[in-house]
């Protein structure tokens, strides 16, 4: 499935290893692995032995706060949107990017559609895995609004800062 990041379509080097599947040293062919939050915490806390991945995938009910101590070790956090109408991932992204100032890749996966990309971008996402929108559409979606009213996790200044 296409991965779009920073206005370009790039190769996806990451593999999500589901709970229960074996985590091998060195991981799958391409080497970069993400696991569920529960599994990541289990590995960290020694409940499971194995190589420690530097990617985590959050489900909508996961508590993003649990990742705070480990953010500097992570290169990828995926936020899963099982249904695009489930907006919990936006709060997870805001917490990670804005409150904890996570600087690695924040990737939206799952039911990611063109018309949600603008909100995702403002919430702190910088990468999108989607089969429903091509690069040109995503680039276009990100340009639909040139003014915003409130601060968020992106760098757009709210209108009230531009006015003063």
């Amino acid at each position: 499935m296409p991965l779009i990041k920073n206005g370009a379509e790039i190769a996806n080097e990451w593999t999500f290893v589901p709970d229960g599947a074996v985590l091998r040293e060195g991981g799958p062919e391409k080497g970069k692995v993400s696991v569920s939050l529960a599994r990541f915490l289990g590995l960290k806390q020694g409940q499971e032995n194995g190589p420690l991945p530097d990617g985590v995938r959050l489900g909508p009910a996961d508590t993003a706060e649990d990742l705070e101590p480990y953010l500097s070790e992570l290169s990828l956090i995926e936020v899963d949107f099982p249904r695009y109408t489930d907006g919990r991932g936006y709060s997870q992204a805001q917490l990670l990017r804005r409150r904890y100032q996570y600087t690695g890749e924040l990737r939206a996966v799952g039911h990611v559609l063109r018309d949600q990309i603008f909100y995702m971008h403002r919430s702190g996402f910088d990468a999108y895995v989607t089969r429903r929108a091509g690069l040109s559409e995503i680039v276009e979606a990100l340009k639909e609004y040139s003014v915003v009213y409130q601060p968020a996790a992106d760098t757009s200044p709210p209108a009230f800062r531009r006015r003063s």
Binding site: Y84, G87, S91, Y119, Y145
Partner: protein, 552 residues
């Protein structure tokens, strides 16, 4: 009133372009209806029984004459010559073609209007006291804060896909005319030691599970209110139920957690906000927005208008209208006028294109260009000199807008019901019109005094039946329409939910039953000063229930 600057104008123009693209992608089949649905909903477009319905935002219920004329043109050119004012202080058009909606939105954008977030699972239009800025009893004008909340909530990236819709109301008067305790968030502006702040109520609501809101914080200073709202919204977005549409409103979260635990979670989230996350709106920006709402320059007037008094003496109908439809104004010699959209025999809240144009003209000529929509679905001219009332009444009455029934029994709140809505179980407009007929004698109605009847065509409660002094709820029983009667609801500062008194009635039994209840009240009240709701609270529901079901 607030005027767009280049930034506001650009956001609305960009929204029109975006929605035009979304409609084109839907019409071409690129977007599936299921994917288009939340997009059109967040732009006020519903698919109703007969056609698409377009709901246009009227932020906190305020309109200029130019805006109201534009709505009249939309009614004429794209609908069937009328519009329907809603309980969210908005307007909706029931017969607009989907392909025309982008053009309608473009036309509205020219007069600083839009349909943003008038529906969908997002923060809806913030409502307030329809007498804001004019009422004698307000501590200050709530509209600037409504505008600040409007801007903050517009396209908020974190809160566009909430578990369910979200409604905020603001009042600044002790007598709550904004029904804040039956809102997801109700804000009551207070002043403490010279600081302005907000009493914050959360988790009220109507619908199928009515709840009176919980006091979550007695005083949040104004410079922290947006941050506090963000904490409320984030807790709701994360923990509100998403497994069942009917349990997804914030009231269910508050109820299931319990007040203490809910408050703890909000306070914890608020305390967790770091300095760099604070919205920190500059004082100059807050002042800039307040400046748009400075009071109109009202010439000094004597408290009594001779012109008004002689007109009253000459015309008893006019005199009655002034007794019923005026609200006290801050300034001596002025009043706020309710233009009733509840004449006998018309669907409550409907106005024709020419009626809208007339009200726009009157507002321009006599009303400092200010028009409000009330949540009771009437129009208001908030700043009118007493001297001008005879001319205003004459013009309104000639256009069928002279009903003297503000907050009286025929001034009902009524949802569109099964005549329009695909959720409804029963028709609500016809039954309300039948009740109206029994009380059509203005002298009789004035004698009854203040009495709110609210009518909903299904348990979703769009007609606010839970908070009517008398509520009427349409239900479907094996294919037949029945109406349950509730007593004792109120939406003001003594907010309470009505209770169903007994078995449902057939449509043709409803007017007689209401009439018996009202007549019972008239025999029992201690004086004409004791309102229906007060007599009901004094005597309890039992005798009223007996009157309701008494055989003829």
């Amino acid at each position: 009133m607030y005027r767009y600057d280049q930034f506001d104008a650009r956001i609305v123009a960009e929204r029109v372009a975006q929605f035009r693209g979304q409609v084109a992608r839907r019409l071409s089949g690129e977007l599936l209806e299921d994917e288009f649905k939340p997009l059109r909903l967040q732009n006020g477009v519903y698919l109703q029984l007969h056609a698409y319905m377009l709901r246009i935002a009227i932020p906190y219920g305020q309109l200029s004459p130019v805006q109201l004329r534009c709505l009249a043109e939309v009614a004429r050119d794209y609908d069937r010559g009328f519009g329907h004012f809603t309980t969210r202080q908005n307007i909706q058009f029931n017969w607009v073609a989907l392909k025309d909606i982008p053009d309608v939105l473009e036309k509205l954008a020219e007069v600083e209007m839009h349909a943003i977030q008038t529906s969908g699972n997002c923060i809806r239009n913030t409502t307030t006291d329809h007498f804001a800025g004019a009422a004698q009893d307000e501590v200050l004008d709530p509209r600037p804060w409504c505008e600040i909340i409007r801007q903050w909530s517009t396209f908020h990236p974190e809160f566009a896909f909430l578990p369910r819709k979200f409604k905020i109301a603001v009042t600044a008067a002790e007598h709550d005319r904004a029904a804040i305790r039956v809102h997801d968030v109700g804000l009551h502006i207070r002043q403490r030691d010279g600081v302005t702040g907000f009493e914050v109520w959360v988790g009220g609501g109507q619908g199928r599970t009515p709840v009176i809101a919980t006091l979550v914080n007695p005083f949040v200073p104004e410079n922290q209110i947006l941050d506090y709202l963000e904490a409320i919204m984030r807790v709701y977005n994360r923990y509100g139920r998403r497994d069942n549409k009917y349990k997804a409103r914030i009231k269910i979260l508050v109820t299931e957690l319990g007040d203490a635990e809910y408050i703890r979670q909000v306070e914890e989230e608020f305390a967790a906000q770091r300095a760099h996350e604070k919205i920190d709106m500059p004082a100059e920006e807050i002042a800039r927005i307040h400046a748009y709402f400075s009071p109109p320059g009202l010439a000094e007037k004597p408290a009594v208008s001779k012109h008004l008094e002689s007109a009253k003496a000459a015309d008893p109908a006019f005199a009655r209208w002034t007794r019923v439809n005026l609200h006290p104004h801050k300034a001596q010699g002025y009043a706020s006028v309710t233009v009733s959209l509840k004449p006998i025999g018309i669907a409550p809240g409907d106005a024709t294109d020419t009626q809208m144009e007339l009200v726009a003209d009157l507002a321009e000529k006599y009303g400092h260009g200010d028009i409000r929509v009330s949540h009771a679905q009437n129009l208001i001219l908030p700043h009118v000199a007493l001297d001008d009332l005879p001319e205003i009444y004459a013009a309104l009455d000639a256009a069928g807008l002279g009903a003297a029934n503000e907050s009286r029994i025929t001034d009902m709140i009524v949802c569109p019901g099964l005549d329009y809505c695909n959720l409804a179980n029963a028709r609500s407009i016809p039954v309300s019109l039948e009740v109206q007929k029994l009380f059509a004698d203005p002298a009789y109605e004035e004698d009854i005094g203040r009495l709110h009847i609210n009518v909903s065509g299904c348990i979703n409660a769009c007609g606010h039946h839970h908070v009517g002094h008398i509520g009427i709820l349409g239900v479907d029983k094996k294919g037949e329409e029945f109406y349950q009667i509730l007593l004792g609801g109120r939406a003001d500062e003594k907010a309470a939910l009505g209770t169903i008194v007994g078995p449902g009635l057939k449509a043709d039994e409803v007017p007689g039953a209401i009439h018996r209840v009202v007549e019972f009240y008239r025999t029992q009240r201690t004086s004409k000063d004791e309102k229906f709701i007060d007599t009901l609270e004094r005597l309890g529901h039992q005798p009223f229930q007996e009157a309701l079901y008494a055989a003829d």
